[in-house]
């Protein structure tokens, strides 16, 4: 064995969650279940950290190719990571660790969700391994398989909740996801026909402004927009994300939609960059902008706490789509570098951490309160101060106030918009921020308003709903850690930008 390089660890990052899924499925419900899963997530996290460190140490644009089966592209399948994908892997590793900790509590015998744990853990690990496999794949068809794993396991996880609304949402999510996958598969068939290979890099070498490539790009965009839930295609997201069990909502909003977004960015900038046009990027930006306004407005009108957060995801995804018009203008056709890409990458990380923290905190508040009505949250800050604090910190990041990751992300976005002279996006971003403040402060002001009848009277306990249960400290702590990470990212912006843009770093030296 010669020296260890980051690419050698890539298969392990896919296979470890698969192994965890198999073991979780075989052992079934067990007293050690939580412990086993936590140790798997810890190992997984350490492995991802090691890979990231090795990758940073190599100081390259992208890692060496890991050649599966010794065939090499185009005959076989290769694995490869670049700065963006290693960042997504690291983010997945971190969120997997934290949400697994949370789930071990959420699905323990203390709460009535425990009988679902038999199905939850295997599906959870399949989802994680699908995400990891997606972020390192260098093959167009392999990406399709990964999208299938992610889509099917995510829909099954939503259905886990078991009530009528969740089942309906899950079925719709499944069908929309399959439709999106089919669009993608059709595009891959066209690409294979005109390029004779499925390897992304080899397709990129021969990509041109030709008709088949353009059609493929359009189909990929439509298919993935369905999965990402950009504005007119967002209809399935709020019910699916709102009705899922809390840890599932967190991972769906934080990572699963981002996985499709990652593929879209990869195709739009790297693989089929030649086939994209300025007009198309403006259309994507306009849809994103409408999504910001519409999503924020729906979030403001929502009466259920989790539905509000789900609509906020629709709005936040809109911001990331401003990447498409802004980067095209500043950097030519096919490059994912420069300030717009930095803003987008930062937005993805900031939103993932903040939204996961917010969903977990909301789940805790709902557990404590007994139901998800926003109106019933009055005065909850007295009973659950930490969870309301987490909600507030995550909210600050989503609105984009300093000092938080969301602030840096929005700052980067605004400066890019000014630099490129496309001032109209500035208006959209600022309006979105104000609307965001409206719907989040609506919740917070309710939570902090003290209702003397409930809080101060000694009979407060009896008026509390029967179904409420004390929230375990682990669940609160995990949400708090995520919120603190959001804050830390706001104070330490260079860190993320360095990982995702090692290229510019090397060139700069």
């Amino acid at each position: 064995m010669n020296y260890l390089s980051s690419s050698l660890l890539l298969p392990a990052i896919v296979f470890l969650p698969l192994l965890a899924a198999i073991i979780a499925f075989i052992i079934g419900r067990n007293r050690l279940q939580g412990l086993i899963n936590i140790s798997f997530s810890l190992t997984q996290f350490l492995l991802v950290v090691l890979t990231t460190l090795l990758f940073l140490d190599e100081q390259t644009d992208q890692s060496e190719r890991y050649v599966i089966g010794g065939w090499g592209a185009p005959l076989g399948i290769d694995l490869i990571v670049d700065g963006f994908s290693i960042l997504m892997l690291a983010l997945t590793g971190l969120l997997t660790l934290l949400i697994t900790l949370y789930s071990a509590s959420y699905f323990s015998d203390k709460y009535n969700a425990s009988e679902k744990s038999l199905r939850f853990w295997p599906l959870w690990w399949f989802l994680i391994s699908g995400l990891n496999a997606l972020f390192m794949s260098a093959d167009a068809f392999n990406i399709y398989v990964c999208l299938e794993i992610i889509g099917l396991s995510a829909a099954a996880l939503v259905a886990l909740q078991g009530n009528r609304a969740a089942l309906q949402a899950a079925l719709r999510y499944l069908l929309v996801g399959l439709l999106g996958s089919l669009f993608y598969l059709f595009a891959i068939a066209i690409l294979y026909r005109s390029h004779g290979t499925l390897d992304l890099m080899q397709i990129a070498e021969t990509a041109s402004h030709s008709f088949p490539d353009k059609v493929a790009m359009i189909l990929i965009t439509i298919g993935l927009l369905l999965k990402i839930a950009l504005f007119p295609l967002h209809f399935w997201l709020p019910p699916a994300h709102a009705n899922a069990p809390t840890p599932v909502s967190a991972i769906l909003s934080a990572l699963v939609v981002k996985a499709s977004l990652y593929i879209l960015i990869k195709f739009w900038f790297d693989v089929l960059g030649e086939a994209t046009t300025f007009g198309a990027s403006q259309v994507l930006g306009a849809l994103g902008g409408t999504g910001i306004i519409y999503g924020s407005w729906c979030a403001f009108r929502a009466t259920q706490l989790k539905l509000l957060i789900a609509y906020s995801t629709v709005a936040q995804l809109g911001y990331i789509f401003l990447l498409f018009p802004l980067s095209e203008y500043s950097m030519g056709v096919s490059s994912f570098t420069g300030s717009a890409s930095q803003a987008a990458v930062y937005f993805i990380v900031a939103h993932a951490c903040a939204k996961a923290a917010m969903f977990l905190a909301a789940g805790n508040l709902i557990l404590a309160q007994g139901n998800g009505e926003i109106a019933k949250l009055k005065g909850i800050a007295v009973r659950e101060p930490l969870n309301v604090l987490v909600f507030a910190i995550a909210g600050i990041s989503l609105i984009g106030l300093p000092p938080s990751a969301g602030f840096i992300a929005k700052w980067l976005l605004l400066t890019t918009a000014f630099e490129s002279g496309q001032w109209w996006w500035v208006i959209v971003v600022i309006t979105g921020g104000l609307l965001g403040a409206m719907y989040l402060f609506k919740v917070l002001s309710l939570a902090f308003s003290t209702d003397p009848a409930v809080v101060e009277s000694p009979t407060a306990k009896s008026t509390a709903p029967v179904s409420s249960v004390p929230v375990s400290s682990v669940m609160t702590t995990v949400a708090l850690i995520l919120a603190l990470i959001t804050l830390a990212l706001g104070l330490n912006a260079e860190f993320i930008l360095n990982i995702s843009n090692t290229v510019t770093e090397v060139n700069g030296i």
């Binding site: 198999i22 089966g69 065939w71 004779g196």
Partner: protein
């Protein structure tokens, strides 16, 4: 005759199902038109990867190009596809009865003679044919998925008489369901140790290893497909009996 307007329509002004039908027909039509235009306008990369596969087929351990692609050149995809199958099974599997036995035989008093004869005559033949398909996959069309589908068909035939019941959540069933994935992963990672890279079969053993993986895959695929059928029938039966109760009353 037109003095009296006798056309009356009580439905909504815009029929939603008709609208969605029109929309989907339009989308399909557009996709079809685009496909035809692409096929006509552009010659494309006519050969694709076929020549490369023919060149390397001798190194793959099998002679059937499809099996070579599925189990050797792109074995990683197949491994993940098997995981997809397991996800589907997980999604529909019932969660109760972990401790009931894997296989149960119930004596049914009323036997259907024709069904019994069918089961006695056809099932063994199907099982043998599935075994042949699995074996033949190395050099002609066939393989794990086809053999698994046939075996699942045979088990559907066996389920018709309510004599046999399989508990898919028993320990044994769970082991058999994950068997193919476990074997695939074990072989794949063990080869990192021996050959230096994931799923790199050594030339001398590649045919054997592929057959081993395919055999395990056949078992898992059979059980997975049979479980899909059983859970579908189970939910159907529940609704049918509900219906009967209501109608009798």
């Amino acid at each position: 005759m037109f003095n009296k307007l006798d056309i009356e329509y009580d439905g909504p002004a815009v029929d939603k199902s008709a609208l969605s039908l029109i929309a989907s027909v339009l989308v399909v039509g557009l996709l079809l038109a685009v496909t035809i235009k692409i096929v006509l306008s552009d010659k494309g990369h006519n050969t694709g990867l076929a020549p490369l596969i023919t060149q390397n087929i001798e190194l793959s351990g099998v002679t059937n190009p499809i099996t070579a692609v599925l189990l050797n050149f792109r074995a990683y995809d197949t491994l993940l596809e098997i995981a997809v199958l397991l996800v589907v099974v997980l999604a529909i599997l019932p969660t109760r009865d972990h401790h009931a036995p894997f296989f149960k035989r119930i004596e049914v008093s009323k036997q259907n003679l024709v069904l019994l004869a069918l089961q006695r005559w056809i099932t063994p033949a199907v099982v043998i044919f599935a075994g042949y398909l699995l074996w033949a996959g190395a050099h002609q069309p066939g393989g794990a998925f086809q053999a698994g589908a046939l075996l699942a068909g045979a088990s559907v035939l066996m389920f018709q008489s309510d004599t046999y019941q399989v508990n898919y959540t028993s320990f044994m069933a769970r082991v058999l369901l994950v068997l193919s994935l476990v074997v695939f992963i074990t072989i794949g990672t063990a080869l990192i140790w021996f050959e230096g890279s994931l799923l790199t079969y050594p030339l001398a053993f590649s045919g054997l290893l592929i057959l081993l993986i395919e055999t395990c895959a056949t078992v898992s695929i059979t059980l997975a497909l049979a479980s899909l059928y059983s859970s579908f029938i189970a939910s159907e039966n529940i609704s049918v009996t509900d219906h009967k109760h209501r109608t009798i009353k």
